[in-house]
């Protein structure tokens, strides 16, 4: 495989192709939409989703080579490309990946076709725009994972906003207008402050000619900031990423956005877009400002917020009457784990955090797809409207159970691996925080099992539910990869862990400012 990929210089073009393909797909959809202007809605929808599926599948297939082609142990970037974009301002098209980014890229590319399948029949109008937005969104997300130029990163970061805004706002539920605007404003508030910080960094690192420098490597290796500046800059990045993660108390956009978004939107939002925040911390906030990040006050504040988020998210999701909202709050809890893992600064916790990232992507994505499936049948997400549907939808019940267990973190599923690594690692440096965080194993079971009970168990007393049809072949087929992922990462996460190990070590080394192999980095005592 390595030889084959090398023979087609895979690494030289793959990242650019991954970024370009969705955009081209979006343009193709646009052209198709224009050409079919006078066709009836059904035909348009059908054509649009097929084209989108083809593009996404192609993207996924092309991206698979990354699994083998990336040099995971090298400190250099794989697939590195640097082309001047706005040389007058020192902005370059600079992309490259390491193990951490690769895993998230693969998560994205593999998830997107499934997302399209998941919204196969639920998008019935303006389908061309919908899928085009989904494609553009994909470029934005992939770009964030690849960008090695701070300015470019920012562009991709913002690029995601509009498609998601439209997806929520045009195809969403009752309160979609409120939710979409809230999503947009929250995210934008954070990211614009980051924009100032990025400019400040770039201008501080200006070359002798006075041109700003936004190259990630240059800034990481060269930049030092006076104490307060470093804190302010970190704060700016923190705000942007914390909103996206979302950390408590910046999380309230999330439940609204999730509840109102159409299924595909929720899936993308939960599975990938939330990872932007945590990825941002790992890729940018920590390596750029190790001093600020390790500042005891800052660090304890973040750890406290993370733990509050973990417990708070779990407790609040326990009392949600709406299934989507429940899952949304559970995301707050899960992402709190990621933050705890990152800011505990141990190899295990960071690796665990990366695993939770991926796992949350799989489990919560699947949960939203499942919710979408019953929503399509019943047009409600209120837990009280269901009950006992395992009788009529046994396959659905099985799938929901497995996914819920993964989300709870039952050993053997992927959820356990991540949470366990985070906690076992974080315990070395933040014992109290991780013990408090560990209480969530209880609350997670409470809220998800209670939800499960109210949906698939209990008496099948509502007449509307008695006629429900079980999953069809498409739905079943699209869930199978999720189940496979859940079990694979639960039982044999080593391939992924191996691939992120070196990158994670580099982050830890950078944070601790030491050259050791990082394996014992961060031991508190």
């Amino acid at each position: 495989m390595h030889g084959l990929l090398a023979s087609i210089s895979y690494n030289n073009w793959i990242l650019t192709v991954l970024l370009a393909l969705p955009v081209l797909g979006a343009l193709a959809l646009w052209a198709q939409g224009a050409a079919m202007r006078h066709a009836d809605e059904t035909a348009r929808t059908s054509a649009a989703r097929k084209l989108a599926l083809v593009v996404f599948t192609a993207e996924a297939v092309v991206s698979l080579g990354l699994w083998w082609s990336v040099d995971y142990s090298s400190p250099l970037w794989s697939g590195y490309v640097a082309v001047p974009w706005i040389p007058a301002w020192g902005i370059f098209y600079r992309v490259g990946v390491d193990g951490i980014a690769t895993m998230l890229i693969l998560l994205t590319t593999l998830l997107m076709p499934l997302t399209v399948l998941g919204s196969w029949t639920s998008i019935r109008e303006r389908a061309h725009l919908f899928y085009a937005m989904l494609l553009v969104l994909t470029t934005g997300m992939l770009g964030v994972f690849m960008a090695l130029d701070l300015a470019l990163f920012y562009v991709f970061w913002e690029l995601m906003l509009v498609p998601m805004y439209l997806i929520i706002g045009m195809w969403g539920g009752q309160r979609r207008l409120y939710a979409s605007l809230k999503f947009f404003l929250f995210t934008m508030l954070g990211s614009l402050v980051m924009l100032v910080a990025i400019l400040y960094i770039g201008l501080t690192a200006a070359d002798p000619l006075g041109r700003p420098v936004f190259a990630y490597d240059v800034i990481v290796s060269g930049a030092t900031y006076p104490g307060m500046a470093s804190l302010w800059l970190f704060g700016a990045f923190f705000l942007a990423f914390a909103v996206k993660v979302p950390m408590w108390p910046f999380h309230t956009w999330l439940p609204d956005a999730h509840v109102e978004a159409p299924t595909a939107g929720s899936v993308v939002l939960a599975s990938i877009m939330l990872k932007m925040g945590t990825f941002g911390f790992v890729r940018f906030a920590l390596p750029l400002f190790p001093d600020a990040a390790t500042n005891p006050a800052v660090r304890s504040a973040i750890v406290i917020l993370a733990v509050v988020g973990i417990v708070y998210g779990a407790l609040v999701s326990m009392v949600q009457p709406d299934f989507k909202k429940l899952v949304a709050y559970s995301s707050v809890s899960h992402l709190g784990f990621v933050m705890l893992g990152i800011f505990a600064f141990t190899t295990q916790s960071l690796q665990g955090a990366l695993m939770v990232n991926i796992n949350h992507g799989i489990s919560t994505g699947a949960l939203f797809l499942l919710i979408g499936m019953i929503y399509e049948r019943r047009h409600t997400r209120q837990l009280a409207d269901f009950g006992g549907i395992a009788k009529v939808m046994p396959l659905f019940a099985v799938m929901l159970t497995i996914v819920a267990l993964s989300s709870i973190g039952v050993p053997g599923t992927n959820g356990f691996v991540g949470e366990f690594l985070v906690l076992v690692g974080a315990f070395r440096t933040e014992p109290i925080a991780s013990v408090i965080a560990a209480t969530v194993v209880i609350f997670a079971a409470v809220y998800l099992l209670w939800a499960l009970q109210r949906i698939i168990y209990n008496p099948l007393s509502k007449p509307e539910n008695q006629a429900l049809k079980d999953l069809n072949a498409r739905e079943l087929g699209l869930l199978v990869p999720f189940i496979a992922g859940i079990l694979w990462l639960g039982l044999y996460p080593k391939p992924v862990l191996e691939r992120t190990q070196a990158a994670a070590n580099r982050v830890i080394e950078r944070v601790h400012g030491m050259g050791a192999d990082g394996s014992v980095a961060g031991q508190g005592r």
Partner: protein, 503 residues
């Protein structure tokens, strides 16, 4: 080619593009008067005015590459900044006339002189951009203002238009009093009206803390703030923008404001840069208050033109940040921003003029509900303009980089404007509230049953619209050329004088 602007011949030569425009305008004035008012005549004069503008642009581009001045304290500048700003005016004027040709009949404006007045106003702006003497500044401002007063009220059939014109005129004249008094006092303190001389004398004689000078500069700032509609001198703007014919509104928002900024930047950088201890605080607060209040009030607007008026006030605030930077980079940022803002403004107003002839239905944001379903292209175009005004990357195209440049100017400024930069970005979050509101009204709401079908988009309007949107997107993807252009034409980037030639 080098001109000695201290001699009448040299001066005449250095004013080449301006002369082409003024002479063209005069000829057109006669042409306009030659026939009775009619829609056809209006159109013909408009097309000819476009021709004059093209000729001016052509002349100017020759000058832009070849002209320079040999005079140290010439009465006018011959530098890249002048030509660059002129480009903004001329493009704005061309777009105004192009929109006007098709919008005027809808607004029942038949006076062919409207196009002539646009040319005259543009000539005033060009003078303003060149002026290095406060006397010329004053005359340039008046030439531009008087023409625009008339343009604001050109729709004789509309009470709103007349009301707008009256308000603009009375307050404009009032503010001119302040401006003039400021000039008088500056003259009193320094004994000169020439910007370069003033600057020199402030340095030589240590006038930085001189009471008369400071009062004079303060009054000058008031006059300028009025022209760019900085809060609290902005009150006229929304009313006038709403009352004026839509193309003229766009012209006011883009070109008039750019002219005022160009004048102010030159004055600030050439004459008063040593006073920054005094003027930084007022400008800082003007910028901050303008951004905050403008954005907040824009949120409360229901009328698209009023909303865009407040938006233009806000963008004045953003540009004030670049001015406050007080550097050549600030002026480069202004140039970049000027282009970006002009494109977005004309794109937006092109659609507004299609949607709503002045004073009729269709002027409210509500009237845009569900536009996506009936006129998707208009909706997409408007959305792109809104996102450009919001400063959003890729979708908002060049608007993002405009803001980027302003922030860059603010952060690199020796005056430590990072807090102001943060005010800028925080207030632009608020601006998302109203820009996105339009987007969501168009895309996320159903088209009401009784909504009027928007009129057709005629070719010139279409050209303006497509041109603006395409350029917004294109320059948003490849802003390097524009960035280089702005940097090369910044104030101080190309020296005004190449030889010493004492007056």
């Amino acid at each position: 080619m080098s001109f000695d602007v201290s001699t009448p011949t040299g001066l005449l030569q250095a004013l080449g593009p301006d002369l082409v425009l003024i002479v063209g305008a005069m000829v057109l004035m006669l042409v306009a008067a030659f026939r009775p008012e009619s829609a056809g005549h209006q159109r013909r004069v408009g097309l000819m005015a476009l021709g004059v503008l093209v000729a001016t642009i052509a002349t100017m581009s020759w000058y832009a590459t070849n002209a320079s001045s040999t005079t140290v304290h010439g009465i006018i500048a011959v530098d890249g900044f002048r030509w660059a700003v002129n480009l903004v005016f001329l493009v704005g004027a061309a777009a105004t006339i192009a929109l006007g040709i098709e919008a005027n009949p809808r607004d029942r404006i038949v006076a062919a002189e409207s196009h002539v007045l646009v040319l005259f106003a543009t000539a005033g702006m060009m003078v303003l951009a060149a002026a290095r003497d406060l006397m010329i500044v004053f005359l340039g401002v008046e030439m531009m203002s008087i023409a625009v007063y008339v343009l604001a009220g050109i729709n004789r059939s509309s009470a709103r238009s007349a009301e707008g014109a009256l308000k603009y005129f009375l307050l404009g004249a009032f503010s001119t009093g302040f401006l003039l008094y400021g000039i008088a006092l500056i003259y009193g303190a320094t004994g000169s009206t020439h910007l370069g001389v003033i600057g020199e004398r402030i340095g030589t004689f240590g006038l930085a803390g001189h009471g008369m000078l400071l009062v004079g500069v303060g009054l000058l700032l008031v006059g300028f703030a009025f022209k760019i509609a900085a809060v609290p001198f902005h009150m006229w703007a929304p009313d006038v923008y709403e009352g004026a014919p839509t193309p003229i509104t766009a012209y006011m928002a883009a070109a008039v404001k750019a002219a005022a900024f160009a004048m102010f930047l030159r004055a600030w950088l050439e004459a008063f840069s040593l006073l920054d201890g005094s003027w930084l605080t007022p400008i800082w607060w003007l910028a901050a208050v303008t951004m905050v209040a403008g954005n907040a009030i824009a949120l409360a607007q229901r009328n698209v033109k009023r909303m865009l008026a407040y938006s233009s006030i806000v963008h004045g605030g953003y540009l004030l940040v670049a001015v406050a930077a007080g550097t050549g980079l600030g002026s480069a940022a202004f140039l970049f921003y000027g282009i970006a803002y002009t494109l977005a403004t004309f794109g937006a107003f092109a659609i507004v003029s299609v949607m709503a002839p002045t004073g009729s239905r269709g002027a409210l944001i509500r009237d845009y509900e569900g536009l996506w379903t009936t006129r998707p292209w208009l909706a997409v175009g408007f959305a792109i303009c809104m996102l450009a005004l919001l400063g959003f990357p890729i979708f908002g195209g060049v608007g993002f980089f405009a803001k980027w440049y302003v922030l860059q100017a603010a952060i690199t400024s020796p005056r430590e404007l990072t807090p102001l930069a943060i005010v800028l970005v925080l207030t632009s979050v608020v601006s998302a509230g109203y820009y996105l509101h339009v987007v969501r009204v168009m895309f996320m709401k159903p088209r009401p049953e009784d909504a009027d079908e928007p009129g057709p988009v005629y070719p010139l309007t279409q050209a303006v619209l497509v041109g603006s949107v395409a350029l917004i997107l294109l320059l948003g993807l490849f802003p390097n050329t524009l960035a280089t252009w702005a940097k090369d034409n910044a104030l101080g980037a190309r020296p005004t004088a190449v030889t010493t030639n004492a007056p």
